[in-house]
């Protein structure tokens, strides 16, 4: 048994244990904690599979952002005084859920086992096509070019999710500021942290999206880093959330998907929807990636902030 095999086997066991504890835990907060641990372990598994792009996205969005959203929901339930329900679900419900999960697992295992061994899949085709598509990171090539419609839809879904959150606003505060007011001591640790980290976070975010054209990175990973910076600035009490009626904010939110869609439709001129003219492909992909990054950052940060709570 090689060291690599032991590492992978240990990682698999830890993933299963974290998943089990997240599902079987009786207390909600513990379940959320193990869900975050599970996300980090899955990110490590993606690194072992040499899919660093996916690992970055999983760590940032799967573990980080989703974890924050779940903790936010848990805190809100606590504030509202909703008691945690410790009663196990009905027997038939558990049977149905268990059978459905088991069936999906069997189908997935069968699908993976049915893959012909020793074939490289679509990788050689992507490598061959990538030469005339500007970017050299194959993942970015697939996301922004070969299967651009997936990414376009994802970016639109994020904005729609934010619209759904905003739709929960009571009429009295519509157009106001999302989230609760943050109270921090002006000379405290959080205020210092909130001033020190954002400049570094901005550089890291821009680096991630720039690196995405030739190595692992991209709009979603960079957007999450920028969203974290935004949230830190708000939580440290340095700058409040903008009101949702702000035209600038709304422009930033839709700029990425709108530009992507516009360039995609313009692609009809050179043959197909979402096709780029070869000589401008690199510039267009970078333009879309950078605009998307800021839209994704604003959308994610406002999703965490939640519904509008304070009058404008």
């Amino acid at each position: 048994m090689s060291a690599a095999f032991l590492l992978d086997a240990g990682l698999c066991l830890l993933i299963l244990a974290a998943a089990l504890l997240a599902m079987a835990g009786r207390d909600l907060f513990g379940a959320i904690a193990f869900f975050i641990v599970y996300g980090i372990m899955i990110a490590l598994a993606w690194v072992r599979l040499e899919a660093v792009d996916v690992a970055l996205a999983e760590a940032a969005i799967g573990a980080g952002l989703t974890g924050v959203l779940l903790i936010g929901a848990w805190a809100m339930l606590n504030r509202l005084g909703v008691p945690e329900d410790h009663k196990p679900a009905a027997g038939w419900l558990r049977l149905v859920a268990g059978s459905a999960s088991g069936a999906i697992t069997i189908i997935l295992v069968a699908a993976v086992m049915a893959l012909p061994a020793g074939r490289e899949g679509l990788a050689p085709m992507v490598a061959e096509e990538l030469a005339d598509h500007g970017v050299s990171n194959p993942v970015t090539g697939v996301l922004l070019d070969f299967r651009a419609y997936d990414t376009l839809m994802e970016s639109i879904v994020l904005v729609v999710a934010l619209v759904a959150v905003w739709a929960l606003t009571p009429p009295a505060v519509w157009g106001g500021v999302p989230g609760l007011r943050q109270h921090t001591r002006p000379d405290g640790v959080l205020a210092m942290f909130g001033r020190l980290l954002p400049p570094i976070g901005l550089v890291v975010g821009v680096y991630l999206v720039w690196a995405g054209s030739s190595q692992p990175g991209g709009a979603f990973q960079a957007g999450t880093v920028l969203a974290a910076v935004w949230l830190l600035v708000v939580m440290a009490g340095i700058h409040d959330e903008p009101p949702v009626s702000s035209r600038l904010l709304r422009t930033v939110l839709v700029a990425g998907p709108a530009l992507f869609l516009a360039i995609g439709i313009a692609g009809l001129g050179v043959g197909a929807l979402l096709a780029y003219p070869a000589e401008y492909a690199y510039a267009l992909i970078l333009l879309i990636e950078f605009t998307l990054t800021f839209s994704i950052a604003a959308t994610l940060a406002l999703l965490v902030a939640g519904r509008v709570r304070r009058a404008p």
Binding site: H183, T184, R185, G188, V189, L190, M192, F193, L196, L197, I200
Partner: protein, 103 residues
């Protein structure tokens, strides 16, 4: 095995001992603030030693700069979050001496 490899194994091993000590402290120390202390202090040193050990395996200088940045950001975050958690616990725990409601 080259000198760099031996240094890496040595430094990473010592780093792991600090992580182990921090985890044992988290489980064994009597009260909340000592447990927090064990976790955040020992792990920072452990991560620093592991980063230093891995640095001997990195060929290009920019990779080492990235490692230093990772260590620095983790220390900065751990130290700040430890302060915030400790203050929040002072507000809530019955044995808290000074209660400052503005975390």
């Amino acid at each position: 095995m080259s000198v760099a490899d031996i240094l890496t194994v040595l430094l990473v091993s010592v780093g792991l001992v600090f992580f182990l000590a921090g985890s044992v402290g988290l489980l064994r120390f009597p009260d909340f603030h000592s447990r927090l202390h064990a976790l955040t202090k020992a792990d920072n040193l452990g991560l620093g030693l592991i980063a230093l050990g891995v640095a001997f395996q990195v060929a290009e200088p920019f990779g080492i700069v990235k490692l230093v940045l990772v260590w620095f950001l983790a220390v900065l975050a751990a130290a700040s979050v430890a302060q915030l958690i400790a203050r929040s616990a002072l507000d809530r725990l019955p044995d808290g001496k000074e209660a400052d409601k503005r975390g």
